[in-house]
Structures are given as structure tokens and as C-alpha cells.
């Protein structure tokens, strides 16, 4: 047996994306599947998200993060899917016949395994203070909200007593409530944009429920303190995000939580030569989740940041199915060559849309329909049309009563509609309804 035949599929990451993908690949006929997870247990970020609000779409009930993870993990039972926890993937080396994955673990050390197909499901990590550069001293007491979440919920350490939160992303909002419930005082949540980055539900249940003020169009301009954070200066910003003189508010706090966004964790993908989309910070993918390297697929937060885990699970099931089809059909050399030459159309966005996933569609590979996920750039409180055009011709159009950048949107393009596209580009835009 050649090394690339060790496995039919290796899934990197054991969060909901990796679990969903592996289970679906199994269901679609693969027999040798390995999930590699660097943490001591499966479940990914869900293990630390102890709040509820997961699973309404997928399981039809509201679950907490750990319960959601457990539901997926339960399904592994009896599936003959190999799992390696406490094992980190260091490198992914693509090959013509199959791909090589380099692993490292305390128990087994360093080794290489080969696989016909690979699914990237590494999730994302938080932007840190360095990435957004706040002037001031380097006192302790500055955490990303997710790190604080892990300390409080998993390790059981309280991170501070008087807290300010920078950024109104969901993790920051969730942590605002969590800190209050654990006895801390949360003085404010500060957001540089004129609108909140989190779900309305979280603004209501995490800030308003506890009378925590939300300062929109404000940012932290200074963090002071000798060893521990003592003081934070907040200022209003103008339309170009420059702080306005004279608007300074000083807060006495010992802790700053940063909730300034997530970035897909793609070092492995980049090093493997997978083509990336600067807008999503994730791989560019085709309609089935396949990246620019054949046999390497991506799903979940490594592909683009999702706000709902249910979408992660469904997307990953698609990628798992596609990987199974690839292994059982396309991986054979002759077929693979034709696959690689299949023409595709590119989804192009105008200034109203931040990104789309997928970015490319191979029309002849579409069975029946493709789900296109996207985010709008600005909030719309009144109905709009989402229009797909081939040149001047409208290929599809969808109505939405309201949209916001904080919530991912999706539409379904049918194969018949895609067959109408004559050029190699399809433009998506958000337009007024006339």
C-alpha cells in the first residue's frame, strides 16, 4: 500500500465542522477516515461556549455549546472513524496522487500519514491587541474575549473585577453577561462602527438585561496601568474612525476584553499553496467546498467566519459528501485531469457585498442547486433585492426584508439558472426595490 493510501480522508480539526464533515463522508461511502484534533477532546470552540442558543435550525431545539458538540460526538459511535486528539497537524503537503499530513503528539511524537483527500476544518482564532494596536502600557489584564471565556468556563479562573469590552462581536457580548453573572462589573462595551457587530439577541440579553451601556462609534484610545490595567480612555470617532478631541471618557477598570473579530486559522492552508480570498481570509472554494488544490476541501470557520454553528454543520456535511465523491470518483488519475480542467464561473461582488462563499462555481458539477453565502457591507432596515447578473442579464433575484453585516445571508441558485450564464462571471449586488 502506498503512503497516500493510509487514509481516504483526513479531517484537520475536530470542531463541529470537522465532525460534520467526517460523519457525512462516512455516510457517503468512505471507510478510512481520520480526524485530527490538537485539543484533548473533540468539540472545538463549542466546549467553551456554555451559553445556549445553538442548534435551533439543525436540531430544532436550543442547546448549549457543549450539548451541541456532544450530539455530534455521539454520532461517531460505531462509525469506525479514527480520532486522534492531543495531536497537532504541523504541515500539509499536497501531492499528485494524495496528500501528506505531518502530525505531532506527546503520545506518538512526529509522523507522516497520507490521504487521498483532506478537509480543512481548523476553525478561527481571535484578533489580538497587537493586530489592532492600542497605544498605552503593556499592563496585564488585557485578554481576548475568547481566552477569557476559556479561563472562566473551562479552567474556572475569574479574569477581573471591573471590565470594559472593546468590540461588540458576539463573543464579547456573551462574555459581558458571563462576567456580570460571576460577580464582576462591566462598565461598557465600546464599538468603533456605527452599528453593532453582534446578533441583536445578544445585545438585548447580554447588554440591555444588565444595563451595560454600548458606545457605538467609539474606541479605546489608551490603556494605562503599571502592572495591571488601571485606566482606559475611550473616545468617539469620526466618519474616518479618527478619535475626536474632547470626547475622552476615562474608565477605572482592571480588565479589557477584546472582541474585535475572528480570523480563519489558515497557516496550514497557505503553506500548502491553497489559493486564498483576502476578503474572507479563508481559501477560495468551488461549489462543493473544494479549494484550488484538488482533493483539499474546506468548511466551517476556517473557510469564513460563521455566526451560527448550524450553518457550519450543514456546510461541512456538504464538504464531507464532496470529499467522498472525490475519493470514489475524481481521484482516479484520468478523471482527475478532466476535473481539474472543468470550466468555472467566478462570483464577482460590487461594493454592497463584502464576500461570497463559494467564490467559484463549476456549473457542470452542480447537481441541482448551490447555496451561496454572503455578507452585506452595511445594514438595511427596509427591503432590498439581491441580484445576480451575467453582464446586463438578470440570472436570479431574491428579496430580503432586512439585512445586516452581522448576520450571514444565503440564497440558492438553481442549476437551470446557472446554465443561463454565458460569460465566466456572475455579479452579485444589493439593490433598491423599484
Amino acid at each position: 500500500m502506498k503512503m497516500y493510501d493510509d487514509y481516504e480522508l483526513i479531517v484537520i480539526g475536530g470542531g463541529p465542522a470537522g465532525l460534520g464533515a467526517a460523519l457525512s463522508a462516512r455516510e457517503h461511502g468512505l471507510e478510512r477516515i481520520l480526524i485530527v484534533e490538537r485539543d484533548v477532546e473533540l468539540g472545538g470552540i463549542l466546549n467553551q461556549c456554555i451559553h445556549n442558543g445553538f442548534g435551533l435550525h439543525y436540531f430544532g431545539e436550543e442547546l448549549t455549546g457543549p450539548e451541541y458538540a456532544a450530539r455530534l460526538i455521539d454520532r461517531l459511535e460505531g462509525q469506525a472513524i479514527d480520532v486522534l486528539c492531543d495531536t497537532m497537524v504541523l504541515e500539509l503537503i499536497p501531492g499528485e496522487q494524495g496528500h501528506t499530513v505531518r502530525l505531532m503528539s506527546m503520545a506518538e511524537g512526529y509522523r507522516s500519514v497520507g490521504s487521498r483527500a483532506v478537509i480543512l476544518a481548523m476553525g478561527c482564532r481571535e484578533r489580538t491587541r497587537g493586530a489592532i494596536q492600542i497605544p498605552g502600557t503593556r499592563a496585564s489584564g488585557v485578554f481576548t474575549a475568547g481566552t477569557a471565556q476559556r479561563y472562566v468556563n473551562i479552567e474556572g479562573y475569574m479574569v477581573g473585577k471591573r471590565v470594559i469590552i472593546l468590540g461588540s462581536g458576539d463573543i464579547g457580548l456573551i462574555m459581558a453577561r458571563r462576567m456580570v453573572l460571576e460577580g464582576a462589573t462591566v462598565l461598557a462595551c465600546v464599538e468603533i462602527m456605527p452599528h453593532s457587530g453582534g446578533l441583536t439577541r445578544n445585545i438585548v440579553q447580554c447588554l440591555q438585561d444588565f444595563d451595560i451601556p454600548l458606545y457605538l462609534s467609539h474606541t479605546i484610545t489608551k490603556i494605562e496601568g503599571r502592572q495591571r490595567v488601571e485606566k482606559v480612555t475611550v473616545q468617539e470617532v469620526d466618519d474616518h474612525f479618527n478619535p475626536i478631541d474632547g470626547t475622552e471618557i476615562v474608565f477605572d477598570v482592571d480588565t479589557v476584553l477584546l472582541s474585535v473579530g475572528l480570523i480563519p486559522e489558515n497557516e496550514l492552508s497557505r503553506a500548502a499553496g491553497v489559493e486564498m480570498d483576502p476578503k474572507t481570509s479563508g481559501p477560495i472554494v468551488f461549489e462543493n467546498g473544494e479549494t484550488s488544490v484538488s482533493g483539499i476541501f474546506a468548511c466551517g470557520n476556517v473557510l469564513h467566519v460563521h455566526d451560527l454553528v448550524d450553518y457550519v454543520t450543514t456546510e461541512s456535511e456538504g464538504a464531507g459528501k464532496a470529499a467522498a465523491e472525490y475519493v470514489l470518483r475524481c481521484a482516479h488519475t484520468s478523471h482527475k485531469r478532466t476535473c481539474e480542467k472543468t470550466p468555472y464561473i467566478s462570483l464577482v461582488k460590487d461594493e454592497t457585498v463584502t464576500y461570497t462563499v463559494p467564490q467559484r462555481i463549476r456549473v457542470q458539477c452542480v447537481d441541482d442547486h448551490v447555496r451561496v453565502f454572503f455578507r452585506v457591507k452595511t445594514p438595511y432596515k427596509t427591503p432590498r433585492r439581491i441580484v445576480f447578473r451575467d453582464g446586463d442579464r438578470v440570472i436570479a433575484s431574491f428579496r430580503r426584508p432586512y439585512m445586516t453585516p452581522g448576520e450571514m445571508e444565503h440564497v440558492t441558485l438553481k442549476r437551470e439558472q446557472l446554465d443561463e450564464v454565458l460569460g465566466d462571471e456572475l455579479t452579485i449586488s444589493v439593490e433598491e426595490i423599484r
Binding site: 456554555i50 448549549t64 473551562i154 474556572g156 438585561d209
Partner: protein, 116 residues
């Protein structure tokens, strides 16, 4: 008049509930919003999630939740009860951690398994 943001769907309508006029709701784009606004004004409830100590080296905390939504005004009191809890493994999802909170039907239950 009380004001709320409807959280039933992502549209986030701004609701006004007239508590002096039979809790009449305005600002809602649909009926679900009216029901939500009335409920929030008359009897707001929340599911509470938190974590408790566990006698385990691998997992020092176990996540818990109330199995049904409890009165919003009881949240702080309910949290205090958790401070005194220490679980001993094995813990199973759904195990009751604190039974019938304040004599109600609500319990705190574990939301994960801890084997050792």
C-alpha cells in the same frame, strides 16, 4: 410605555408596549413580535447558563443550565446557589445539579459529561 427590541427574528423591530393599556404592542412587523413584547413586559424569563466546580483534575468546571427559562428577577439568586456546588464525577449530561429552584419546576442540570 416600555420599549424592547424584538429578538424573535433577526430583523430586530423596536417594540413599544403600553403597560397601562392592556400591554398593547406597537412597532412590531409581525404577530410573533407582539407576543414577545407582551411576554417581556409582563413576565420576562431567561434560561441561565453557568458552570460549577468539579472534583476532577482534568476538568475543573462543568457547564450547567436551567432546564426551563426562569424569572429574570431570579437570575442573581440562582447564580448564588451555584457557588456552593461541587460535583463528583462521573457526571452525565442532564444530571440534576440543583433541583426545583425556589420551589419551581426549574432545575439546574449538567450540560456535559465528565468521566473522571
Amino acid at each position: 410605555m416600555k420599549e424592547y427590541i424584538c429578538i424573535v427574528c433577526p430583523r430586530g423591530c423596536h417594540l413599544a408596549v403600553d403597560d397601562e393599556n392592556d400591554y398593547a404592542v406597537t412597532g412590531n412587523a409581525c404577530l410573533r413580535g407582539a407576543a414577545y413584547g407582551r411576554e417581556e413586559a409582563m413576565h420576562p424569563t431567561r434560561v441561565v447558563t453557568s458552570s460549577v466546580r468539579v472534583r476532577s483534575r482534568k476538568h475543573p468546571r462543568c457547564s450547567v443550565k436551567t432546564d426551563i427559562a426562569i424569572d429574570k428577577s431570579d437570575i442573581a439568586k440562582a447564580m448564588l446557589l451555584l457557588d456552593d456546588v461541587e460535583l463528583i464525577p462521573p457526571v452525565r449530561r442532564g444530571d440534576i445539579v440543583i433541583a426545583s429552584l425556589f420551589g419551581s419546576e426549574a432545575n439546574f442540570i449538567a450540560t456535559r459529561d465528565i468521566d473522571e
